[in-house]
Subunit: 132 residues, 4 copies
């Protein structure tokens, strides 16, 4: 199992809240995407570069459990890790904290598509995830 | 186990797509919310009325598996069911179709909050879900 | 001056609200987009068909004045008209009502792009707008 | 005329793009909100503090002209200024740059609401805007 980890941090924006006064749950998946891009970039694998080379990282599964709602102006951190459990899938795990309080945990599963077809995780990606 | 079911339908809006040319995955959870509200309204339980009476239906878990991406102008249907498996939680299941093709399945778990505290599912809610 | 008009109607979704308890202003521009697509479709000019033929309708200006906030579950109507004031630009005007109350007015300006270049409004579009 | 200015910077997120491959125009108004909050915070006037004291800064007008679309991964800057032109309204102006290229200009107008009523801009706000 290969594993890498980063911590991504930012502040909640007002437009991400809803009339219950908290961050709307759909936005957590957007936060996950930011954290995922941050981790890939940290590994030298920016999304846009993969796009430019014709590789699409496609989300096929997404899960979240919210323990404590986060609110406007909260500064949250997301601990993100990536694993490869089989030759077709990337798995990311996320933990969202505000200060030391664990507010939400989630994960996403992705596959790689090139020329419209599902492909094995390409070697350059394996090498980078392996080298860390 | 109590169960109710509706089918909610609408068209994908352009602003719900992303640069991969498909609906951004975070929007499926917004579609689920629409379908959930539609089901509750069908049962005579509009969200806004519960809000007005001080009951908040709070999402604590959300999961999705995407099988086929949906795109701009697709007309999709969501089959939605609701279950009560214990005295504290509502469970919704969703299946998103475009024509007869199953494009995504998901579920969400919710609890009820009143005056800032987690409460048992109130009787009026049980009665309505039971009466169907 | 050519002019066409439709009225588009739907209900506010919960995820479109913000922590001030009203629809977040950015969403009005998304409502405008829905209303615009509805008008073009009514005229036999669906967006996606224009896309397929390589014509992109690009928004270059957008303006709104909000008179009364709209809230969760409001059913709003948008009166939409389209004008051509010069050979390069389409102008849409929007009025958002809840019941008979005018809640917001806005407009957008668009140009047509083909093969990455700004082009004159194509004849087939003029003919359709003229025929009404 | 009172005037204050900040420059706010961040990167475009993937979920802010649409199927035309660019940032969806509605998101520029969200960027404006971020930039506005950044300016107010810089002036010692965080939004959430004003909320806590019962003052709501309500957007009543928003306008944008887009000159060049911005895309995924662009790092953009927003030059933001605030003016008071009469005793009821705050005016913000925004210029969005990527590198040295002016990509969009916009402005928003806001009034202050307390206890559900439109009020004059309160003295503490005038003092802060005046002191700069």
């Amino acid at each position: 199992m290969l594993e890498r980890k980063t911590t991504y941090q930012r502040k909640v924006n007002f437009y991400e809240t809803d009339a219950q006064g908290v961050v709307h749950h759909s936005n957590y998946f957007r936060y996950f995407e930011e954290a995922r891009g941050y981790l890939l970039e940290h590994l030298g694998l920016p999304y846009y570069q993969m796009h430019n080379e014709g590789f699409f990282v496609v989300l096929v599964e997404a899960n979240i459990r919210i323990k404590h709602p986060i609110v406007y102006q909260d500064v949250f951190s997301i601990d993100t890790t990536v694993d490869i459990k089989n030759e077709f899938s990337l798995y990311f795990d996320y933990k969202i904290y505000v200060d030391d309080r664990l507010c939400a945990i989630g994960n996403t599963k992705h596959c790689i598509v090139k020329d419209g077809k599902l492909i094995k995780i390409p070697d350059f990606l394996l090498r980078i995830l392996d080298a860390g």
